[in-house]
C-alpha cells in the first residue's frame, strides 16, 4: 500500500465504523418512539417490542437493544417474508405493510409486524420493521385453550396497511370489528407506523450526511465483520455434538424437548429431533420463535457482545422435524408459544455445559407467567381485560447465585402493581420472594415469588393459566446443585389448579401463585456457611432448609455453629 492510499483507506474505515454506530442509534430511536406511544402495558411497561433496519434483500443490518429476544431473532426473518409477497420494485413511498401471521412474524397473533420501505431521492434504500404485543386480537383471547390458530383470533396475512400514504381503511375496519379493544389496537398499529417513519427519516439524514446512495457497501461491511466475530467466538468451543433434554408439564401431557448442539466450522447448529409432538392446545412454538430463542441461548454464551444482524445470526441455526412442538405447522394453536420457546435457552445451556463446564448457568423458571385476567366492573358496562407478568428465579451461575424474580430469557419485565390496579378492580395482596424456592447449591438458584390476587368488588374474575409451567417438573441444578421449587396455582380457600386452561376466581376468594425457583450450581454442602446464615437472617432460607439442604447448623442467635456444621457436612459426604 502506498502512502497516498493509506489516507483514504483509513478515513473510509473510520467512516464505516461511524455509520455503523449511527445505524444502531437509528434503530434505538425507532424502538424508543414505539415504547413511548404504545398502548398495551405489556409493551410500554414491560418492553415487549422490537425494531430493526434491513437492506433491500431483507437482511437485517441492525436491531435495537431495547426489546425482547423472542422478537429480536424472529424479526431477522420477517422482512424477507414481506419481500417475497411484495417485491421491492413494487413498493412506493408512503407504503406500509403489516402482518401478524405467527409463522411469518414472531410466533403468535398478538404480535403485529409492520414494515416500511425507506426512500431516498425516490429510490428505495432500506426497510424498517417493528413489532409489539397488541392488547387483543379477538378469538378466545390470551389463552392456550384454542385447538387451532383460527380460534385464536384474526390473522392478517402480508398486506398493505398504508398505500402511498393512505391508510387501508378496509383492513382497519375489519380489525376494529374483530377485536375487543379497537381503539387501542389501531393506536398500537399506528405507533408501529410512526416508529418506522422516525427510522426512515433518520436513515435518509444519515445517508445525506455521508453522501451514500445505497447501503450495499456499509451493509456488507457490517454483516461480514459480525459474521467473522461470531465465527471466531464459536471457534473457541471444542467442535462436536452435545445433547441434552428437558421435560416440562405441557398442556394435556408432559413434553420432552431434545436438543443436539453441533459446533462446527460454519457455526453452531441446534437440532430438535426427538422432541415431543405438537400439543393439541396453544403452547406450540412455531419454528421462527423456536429459532429466535435458540439463537438467543447460543449467543448469550458464545458471542454476547456481537450485535444482532443477519451476519451474526446466520452463524446460529436451528432445525426441527415438522410436527414437533417446536415446529408445528399451520393451523396449530400457538398463543402461549413462549411456554416452550422460552425454555430452549436452558436446554441449550445443558448441551453447552458439556463443552463449557464453567460457562453456563443452571436451569431457571424459564417462561414468564403471563397473568391475563378479565372480569366486569360494578359501575361500568365494559369489562376489564388486563395483563400482568410474573417471573421466577434465574439459574445459579458457575460463580454466583442466580437472580431472583427476574425474567430470563425473556426481556420483558414487571408491570408495577400500582399501574395494574389503576386499570381494574383487582388487588394484589402479595408479591414477594418465596423463601426456600431457590435451588440449593454452592451457588443458590434465584428465588421465585408468591403472588396473591383478589377482586376488590364482589365479583368473579378469570385468570388464564396458559403460560404456567413447571408445576410438575422443576428447574434442575448443575454440577450437583439442587432443583428450584415447583410452581403452584391455587385458590386461597384451598383448591389447586393444575391445568393450563382459564380458571375462575370466585368473588371473595383469591388466587395464590407460586412462581418457580431456579436450580443451584454445585453441591449445596459446599456453600459458604456464612452465606447460608446470612440468608436465614434475611428470611430467604429457612432454618430447616439450612440444615437439611445445606448441612449448616445455626445457633439460637442465628450464627453458624462451626463444629456442628463440620460434623454434619462430614457425615453427609461419608454417607
Amino acid at each position: 500500500m502506498t502512502a497516498a492510499d493509506a489516507k483514504p483507506n483509513a478515513l473510509a474505515e473510520i467512516q464505516r465504523q461511524v455509520m455503523w454506530n449511527r445505524l444502531i442509534a437509528v434503530v434505538e430511536e425507532q424502538a424508543q418512539v414505539l415504547l413511548r406511544t404504545a398502548f398495551g402495558a405489556v409493551t410500554r411497561e414491560a418492553g415487549d417490542l422490537s425494531a430493526g433496519v434491513y437492506d433491500l434483500q431483507g437482511r437485517m443490518l441492525a436491531q435495537a437493544v431495547t426489546g425482547t429476544p423472542g422478537h429480536v431473532n424472529t424479526m431477522a426473518m420477517a422482512a424477507a417474508h414481506f419481500l417475497t409477497r411484495f417485491p421491492i420494485e413494487t413498493m412506493q413511498p408512503g407504503d406500509v405493510f403489516a402482518t401478524n401471521d405467527p409463522w411469518m412474524g414472531t410466533g403468535h397473533l398478538f404480535d403485529f409486524v409492520v414494515l416500511t420501505p425507506a426512500f431516498r431521492n425516490g429510490r428505495p434504500v432500506a426497510l424498517f420493521a417493528s413489532t409489539c404485543h397488541l392488547i387483543d386480537v379477538g378469538g378466545v383471547g390470551f389463552s392456550a385453550d384454542a385447538t387451532s390458530v383460527f380460534e385464536e383470533g384474526i390473522c392478517v396475512p402480508h398486506m398493505k396497511l398504508m398505500d402511498g400514504g393512505h391508510p387501508n381503511e378496509v383492513l382497519f375496519e375489519i380489525l376494529a370489528t374483530n377485536v375487543r379493544n379497537p381503539v387501542e389496537v389501531r393506536g398500537d398499529i399506528m405507533s408501529l407506523v410512526a416508529c418506522n417513519e422516525a427510522g426512515c427519516i433518520r436513515l435518509v439524514e444519515m445517508m445525506n450526511e455521508f453522501a451514500l446512495s445505497n447501503l450495499d457497501e456499509l451493509g456488507g461491511y457490517i454483516l461480514e465483520n459480525s459474521r467473522t466475530a461470531a465465527l471466531a467466538a464459536v471457534a473457541k468451543i471444542d467442535p462436536g455434538t452435545y445433547r441434552h433434554n428437558m421435560t416440562l408439564d405441557g398442556y394435556e401431557e408432559p413434553v420432552t424437548l431434545m436438543a443436539a448442539v453441533t459446533i462446527g466450522p460454519d457455526g453452531a447448529h441446534v437440532d430438535y429431533d426427538g422432541s415431543s409432538a405438537m400439543s393439541r392446545y396453544g403452547i406450540n412454538s412455531p419454528i421462527c420463535y423456536s429459532d429466535a430463542y435458540t439463537g438467543f441461548g447460543l449467543k448469550c454464551i458464545i458471542a454476547p457482545d456481537v450485535p444482532n444482524n443477519a451476519g451474526s445470526l446466520a452463524v446460529f441455526t436451528t432445525s426441527a422435524p415438522e410436527g414437533t412442538i417446536v415446529n408445528p405447522p399451520r393451523p396449530a394453536p400457538v398463543t402461549a408459544r413462549h411456554v416452550i420457546g422460552q425454555m430452549l435457552p436452558d436446554l441449550i445451556f445443558g448441551c453447552l455445559h458439556q463443552a463449557l463446564p464453567d460457562g453456563v448457568p443452571a436451569e431457571g423458571a424459564g417462561s414468564i407467567w403471563v397473568l391475563a385476567m378479565a372480569g366486569d366492573f360494578d359501575d361500568r358496562n365494559a369489562g376489564f381485560n388486563v395483563m400482568s407478568v410474573s417471573v421466577g428465579g434465574v439459574g445459579a451461575r458457575p460463580h454466583k447465585d442466580g437472580l431472583s424474580s427476574t425474567a430470563f430469557p425473556s426481556g420483558v419485565g414487571a408491570i408495577p402493581v400500582e399501574v395494574t390496579e389503576a386499570a381494574c378492580p383487582l388487588v394484589f395482596w402479595r408479591r414477594e420472594l418465596l423463601p426456600d424456592s431457590g435451588g440449593p447449591g454452592q451457588f443458590r438458584g434465584g428465588l421465585g415469588q408468591i403472588v396473591e390476587i383478589g377482586n376488590s368488588e364482589a365479583r368473579d374474575f378469570t385468570l388464564s393459566a396458559a403460560t404456567f409451567d413447571r408445576l410438575r417438573f422443576a428447574a434442575r441444578g448443575r454440577d450437583g446443585g439442587a432443583e428450584g421449587s415447583l410452581g403452584s396455582v391455587a385458590l386461597k380457600s384451598g383448591p389447586q389448579f393444575t391445568t393450563k386452561s382459564t380458571h375462575t376466581i370466585p368473588a371473595g376468594d383469591r388466587v395464590v401463585l407460586e412462581i418457580p425457583g431456579a436450580g443451584g450450581f454445585g453441591a449445596a454442602v459446599t456453600r459458604d456457611p456464612q452465606r447460608v446464615a446470612a440468608e436465614v437472617a434475611e428470611g430467604l432460607v429457612t432454618r430447616d432448609a439450612a440444615r437439611d439442604a445445606y448441612a449448616v447448623v445455626l445457633t439460637a442467635e442465628g450464627a453458624v455453629d462451626a463444629l456442628e456444621t463440620d460434623q454434619l457436612r462430614a457425615s453427609r459426604s461419608s454417607g
Partner: protein
C-alpha cells in the same frame, strides 16, 4: 439579583463541591459594576466543610473583601450522590405494605443487559432484615381496603431501637393517592422516637409506580442523617467565620432552597453541580438572545448534554443514580425527583479506547480517571484515552494542559494509541487517534440527536454552549456533525457550575399524582388541588424570599388512556376556567402530533401528574456582570502556529494558535484555529469563524453550509 442582599458590597458567594475540586465563585459590587473572582481548591472528602472554608477564604482574599461583605451563600455538593454510589449512608429501615417487602429488591424484574448471563442487579439500600411489612392497604382509588395496623407499627419501635436504625423510610402502596397511613405511621414513630429521621414516600416523590417511589424514599432516608449533619456543621462553621448570611442549597431541578428543606429532602440535592452548569448555560443563552440551546459539558469521565428553550432547561422527574454496569439504564437506583434533564454519555477525556470483536473502535464508558490517567500523564497508564488522541492530533498543548499543572508526554500517548488501536486495526500514525476522536464525537452527536428527537426538537436549529474542560475541544466538530451553526464558549467555564448557582432562582416544585380522565375532571377539583399545591410550594419558598414576588409555573402530564408515557402540558396562570379545561385536549393532541407525527383521535386523554413550581423571578439579564457593547472588530495575530489534524483534509494542517486572555474584545479570527486558555482550548473548525464578544465570550459562527 435573585436573592436579596444587604451588605454594601453585595457579595454573593457560590460553592460547588465536586469529586476532585471544590469551586468557589464570588460576585460583588464595584464602582465600575459587578466584579467576579473564582477559586478552585481540592475537595476534602472526610470533612468537606474544610475545603469549603479554604476556598471561601481564598476567594475573599482575592476580592479584598471580608466576611461581612457577603450577603448570601449558595451551595451545591455531590456528597449525597457519593454516599449513594459508595453505599456509605445511614443504617436505614423501610416500612412497607405487608406482602411487598421485596419491591426494592426485585425492581423492574428484568435484566438491563440481555446477553450477559453474569450481571447482578443493583443492591438495595435497605437490606431485607431491615424491611418491615405492616398490615395496611389502600386501593388505587383511595379506599382503605385494610386499616393501618397501628399496633404493628408500635411494635417496630423496640426493633428499630435494637437494630440501631438511624433513618426510616415509609412507603405504602397507592400512598400517592392517599397518604394517611404513611403520615399516621410517622406520628406513631415520632411519638416514641422523637429524634428518628423519617421519610415518607408520598412526600418525597408522590407518584405512581411503587418501585420508583419506594426507591426514592429509601435513598432520601439513606442520605438524610449524613446530609443533615454536614449541613449543620457547615452552617455553624460559616457563622463562626462571620458568614451568618442566608445559606441556600442548589437542587437538581435548578432551583435553590433553604437549609430546612434541604435537610428534609436531601435527595433533591443530587446532581446539583450539573444543574448549576445548565443554569449558567441558560443565562448565557438569555444574554445572547439564543432561544434554542444545547448545553454541552465534558469532563474527565462523562459528557452531558442539556436542551434549553427560551432560557429554560428541559426538566424531568426521572433520574437514575449510582449505575453500576457500563452506565446502563436499569443498573442503578431510580429516583423520582425534579431534575434538569440531561443525557449523560460515558465519554470524557479519560475514556478508554479499544478495538472490539467486530474490529470497531469502542470508546468508554470506562475511564482511566486521574490515577493512572491517560498514558500521556506519565503515571503508568498504558491504555489509550481520548486525551491521548487529542494530544496527538494537536488539539491539546503538551505544556499547557490544565494550566500547565500536568506536563503531557506525546510519545507515550502515541505509543498507547498504536498498541491499543493502531496495530489491531492496521491504522497508521495519527489515524488511530483520528478514529478515536471521530467515534467519541459520533457517540456524543448520536446522543444529542436522539435526545432532541425524543423531545420533538430539531437539533440543527440549536446554538451549542460549551463548557467544562473537554467540551470546547470537541464542540466545533460536534456542531459540524449536528448541522449546528453557532457554538458559544463562555468565560470561566472551568467553574461554570458555581457561577450557575449565582444565577439560580429560589424555587420549589410540588408534584401530585391524581389519575383522572380529562372528561371527568371538574374545574373546581382542579383549582382546589392547584391551590393546595401552591400553598405547599409557598411554605417552602417563602422563608427564603420574604416579600418577593413569586412566579408560578404549572403543568399537567397527560397521555392517551392506556399509554405509559406522558407529555407535559403547561396550564395557564390563575384559576382555571371551563374554557381552559376544554382547550387541554387540543393542546395535548397538538403536542403529541409535534412529537410523534400522529394523533389518536377517538382515544380519551387522562391526566396523571400535576406539577407546580414556585420561584423567585429569574431576571436572567441582571444576574452577572453586564455585557458591554461589542467593540470594533479587529483581527489579531496568532501567538503561534501548530500542526492540527483535519478530518476533511485527511492530515495535519498548519493552524494558528491564539491565547485567549490576550485576545481583545471584538477580535475576529478565521478557522482553522485553536484558542488556548488555562483550563481548556477551543478548536475552531475550518468551516467556522470565531469572534470575542463584549463580555469575553467566544462565539463560533459557521461561514458557509
Amino acid at each position: 439579583m435573585n436573592v436579596t442582599t444587604k451588605p454594601a458590597r453585595q457579595g454573593r458567594l457560590a460553592v460547588d463541591i465536586g469529586g476532585t475540586f471544590t469551586d468557589v465563585a464570588l460576585e460583588f459590587a464595584e464602582a465600575s459594576g459587578t466584579a467576579r473572582v473564582t477559586a478552585k481548591v481540592l475537595t476534602t472528602p472526610r470533612s468537606p466543610e474544610e475545603g469549603v472554608m479554604r476556598g471561601v477564604a481564598e476567594a475573599l482574599q482575592q476580592a479584598g473583601l471580608t466576611a461581612a461583605d457577603i450577603g448570601v451563600i449558595i451551595h451545591g455538593t455531590t456528597l449525597a450522590t457519593n454516599a449513594l454510589i459508595e453505599r456509605k449512608g445511614a443504617k436505614t429501615a423501610f416500612i412497607t405494605t405487608e406482602g411487598f417487602r421485596d419491591v426494592l429488591e426485585t425492581g423492574y424484574e428484568k435484566r438491563f443487559e440481555h446477553y450477559d448471563v453474569n450481571i447482578d442487579k443493583p443492591t438495595p439500600l435497605v437490606a431485607r432484615p431491615h424491611r418491615f411489612p405492616v398490615p395496611e392497604r389502600m386501593s388505587a382509588r383511595g379506599e382503605v381496603l385494610l386499616p393501618l395496623d397501628e399496633d404493628a407499627v408500635r411494635g417496630l419501635v423496640p426493633v428499630l431501637e435494637g437494630q440501631e436504625i438511624a433513618s426510616v423510610a415509609v412507603g405504602y402502596l397507592h400512598s400517592y393517592v392517599d397518604d394517611r397511613h404513611e403520615r399516621r405511621t410517622r406520628d406513631i414513630l415520632t411519638a416514641a422516637m422523637p429524634n428518628l429521621s423519617i421519610t415518607l414516600s408520598a412526600e418525597v416523590g408522590p407518584e405512581i409506580r411503587e418501585y420508583e417511589r419506594f426507591s426514592t424514599a429509601c435513598a432520601n432516608a439513606y442520605v438524610q442523617p449524613l446530609m443533615s449533619r454536614y449541613l449543620r456543621r457547615l452552617a455553624e462553621l460559616l457563622a463562626a467565620e462571620g458568614l451568618a448570611c442566608p445559606l441556600f442549597l442548589m437542587m437538581s431541578g435548578g432551583g435553590l432552597t433553604t437549609l430546612d428543606t434541604a435537610t428534609r429532602f436531601p435527595i433533591r440535592l443530587v446532581e446539583s453541580g450539573p444543574a448549576g452548569g445548565a443554569i449558567l448555560a441558560s443565562h448565557v443563552a438569555a444574554q445572547g438572545g439564543f432561544s434554542e440551546v444545547v448545553a454541552f459539558d465534558m469532563g474527565g469521565t462523562t459528557a452531558k448534554l442539556c436542551l434549553i428553550t427560551d432560557s429554560t432547561p428541559e426538566k424531568s422527574r426521572r433520574f437514575e443514580v449510582a449505575r453500576m454496569y457500563r452506565d446502563l439504564k436499569g443498573s442503578g437506583l431510580p429516583l423520582r425527583i425534579p431534575v434538569i434533564e440531561m443525557v449523560e454519555i460515558g465519554a470524557g477525556g479519560g475514556s478508554i479506547a479499544r478495538v472490539d470483536a467486530m474490529r470497531r473502535i469502542a470508546v468508554g464508558p470506562d475511564s482511566a480517571g486521574s490515577e493512572p490517567g491517560p498514558a500521556c500523564y506519565k503515571r503508568g497508564g498504558k491504555t489509550a484515552t481520548v486525551t491521548d488522541a487529542n494530544l496527538v492530533l494537536g488539539k491539546i498543548h503538551a505544556d499547557r494542559f490544565a494550566g500547565g499543572q500536568i506536563a503531557l508526554d506525546p510519545g507515550l500517548a502515541a505509543a498507547a494509541l498504536r498498541d491499543n488501536v493502531g496495530v489491531p486495526l492496521g491504522l497508521e500514525g495519527i489515524w488511530a487517534a483520528a478514529g478515536i476522536v471521530e467515534i467519541v464525537e459520533e457517540n456524543m452527536a448520536n446522543a444529542a440527536r436522539v435526545h432532541a428527537i425524543e423531545r420533538g426538537k430539531v437539533i440543527s436549529r440549536h446554538t451549542m454552549i460549551a463548557f467544562g474542560g473537554g467540551a470546547p475541544l470537541h464542540a466545533g466538530r460536534l456542531a459540524d456533525k449536528l448541522g449546528i451553526d453557532r457554538v458559544v464558549v463562555p468565560l470561566g467555564a472551568g467553574v461554570g457550575s458555581a457561577i450557575g448557582f449565582l444565577r439560580a432562582p429560589i424555587s420549589y416544585e410540588v408534584v401530585r399524582s391524581r389519575h383522572i380522565l380529562l372528561d371527568d375532571l371538574k374545574v373546581e377539583t382542579a383549582n382546589a388541588l392547584l391551590a393546595e399545591m401552591r400553598e405547599a410550594a409557598e411554605a417552602v419558598v417563602r422563608p427564603g424570599a420574604p416579600g418577593a414576588a413569586l412566579e408560578e409555573a404549572r403543568s399537567v402530564e397527560m397521555r392517551y388512556v392506556g399509554q405509559g408515557h406522558e407529555l407535559p402540558i403547561p396550564l395557564p396562570a390563575g384559576a382555571l376556567t371551563p374554557s381552559d379545561m376544554a382547550g387541554l385536549k387540543g393542546q395535548y393532541e397538538a403536542r403529541y402530533a409535534e412529537q410523534y407525527g400522529l394523533s389518536v383521535p377517538d382515544m380519551p386523554v387522562e391526566i396523571l401528574t400535576w406539577s407546580t413550581t414556585l420561584s423567585t423571578p429569574q431576571q436572567l439579564h441582571q444576574g452577572g456582570p453586564p455585557s458591554p457593547a461589542v467593540p470594533a472588530a479587529s483581527t489579531p495575530d496568532p501567538s503561534g502556529w501548530r500542526d492540527l489534524f483535519d478530518t476533511q483534509a485527511g492530515g495535519m494542517v498548519r493552524t494558528a494558535v491564539f491565547w485567549r486572555p490576550d485576545l481583545p474584545l471584538g477580535a475576529v479570527l478565521r478557522g482553522p484555529a485553536v484558542i488556548m486558555e488555562n483550563e481548556t482550548a477551543t478548536v475552531v473548525p475550518a468551516t467556522f469563524d470565531a469572534a470575542i464578544d463584549g463580555s469575553g465570550t467566544i462565539i463560533l459562527e459557521r461561514r458557509e453550509r
